[in-house]
Chain length 195, copies 2
DNA sequence: ACCTTTTCTTGACACGTGTAAAGATCTGCA
DNA sequence: TGCAGATCTTTACACGTGTCAAGAAAAGGT
């Protein structure tokens, strides 16, 4: 957990404050702002999380566990009908995306300048893609995938079309309601991939 | 052009160097790096472009004009058959996207912290959406749009699905070849939108 | 050649991230 | 109680963006 010999209490307090503040103000929140809110020094945060990217990554991973994204996804992966399986998996993921949106956006922004943040995010995306690959494989092996798709391309397509970036464009930039965005993304991905 | 009483020669030299350096190293290029390459002081760049976001925006706008994106798009908009029209417009746009990708990515990154960059980019995206809206309108009025789509939603969907962000995910993150990415995006957008 | 205006440079500052080292404080335990 | 180690603070620095003001240098006209 990258906090060699650090207080678990302070650790959690930082995460709690940071989550709330970033949800409200995004990239405008400085490390000093978060430190002040917790009542500690700026450097204490660096001792706990290394960099801003490290803090954001810890927030994402905590959310992963709290919302049981992995468990819910694999439960959806059990759905029998291919079409319903794709729909169920996308429902799970698209329910999770808005929850981590502010933190994930800032993390994506930092990837350009923070190699550690970049590696950690890529690692997590690699996991997500392995789940989506299983989904694509199951669709393929049951003959549900439209003929022109390979498993790899289908995986990448789902990954892209249901990404944080796409969600941000529709919901934040274009003010789509969350339900509407989720519905259209699920329907359009199904239409593109399935026979 | 935001360069009240500044040398046009220096202005162009900055743009030339910045374009090349950002194409190669993206966000790693500092304003000082660019200044050194041109042989001027860091502050001279700020006198010409205000901020890093201003410089990037000037690069994007110069590319808009050089590659005649607007003209080419409206020429494609003249295509008679609805399906071919959508395809032609997407071809034009998706040919342009990779050209501005490095600069656009950095600009998108800066939006979170630079209000001017944010406003300028949003302004440009507003133009693009007005073009896409005309495309969506023409498809709608000729009955080519699948029944569930409104003009506004179709516009936003095309805008999102053919965005710089989506291109980046497929081509940069997932190493898709440009042709393959363009083809799949064109085909999938057509499949989703058209009857 | 001279003077003026335009253009660019220099140096300084505020604020952000990230790193390092030294000192203070708090905690558990003998 | 008092020590030792863990934890946090303080101070300082390097580098980035962005802004400001004073001055040098180049360009132009007369």
């Amino acid at each position: 957990m990258s906090r060699k010999g650090r207080s678990a209490k302070t650790h959690e307090e930082i995460l709690d404050s940071a989550w709330d503040m970033i949800a409200e103000q995004g990239a405008d929140v400085s490390m000093l702002d978060i430190a002040k809110a917790v009542g500690i020094s700026r450097q204490a945060i660096y001792l706990h999380f290394g960099t801003r990217g490290g803090l954001l990554m810890a927030l994402v991973k905590r959310a992963d566990e709290r919302y049981r994204i992995r468990e819910d996804f694999f439960e959806a992966l059990d759905t029998r009908s291919p079409a319903e399986r794709l729909d169920a998996c996308l429902r799970v993921w698209l329910t999770f995306v808005p929850k981590i949106l502010p933190v994930a956006k800032d993390l994506i922004r930092l990837r350009a300048t923070d190699p550690d943040a970049s590696a950690a995010w890529e690692d997590r995306m690699s996991d997500l893609r392995s789940w989506l690959r299983q989904l694509a494989e199951s669709l393929y092996s049951e003959g549900a995938l439209a003929s022109s798709w390979t498993i790899e391309e289908a995986t990448d397509y789902i990954w892209t079309a249901s990404s944080v970036q796409v969600w941000d464009l529709l919901v934040v930039e274009r003010n789509w309601k969350q339900d509407r965005a989720a519905t259209i993304l699920r329907e359009s991905i199904s239409k593109v991939l399935l026979k």
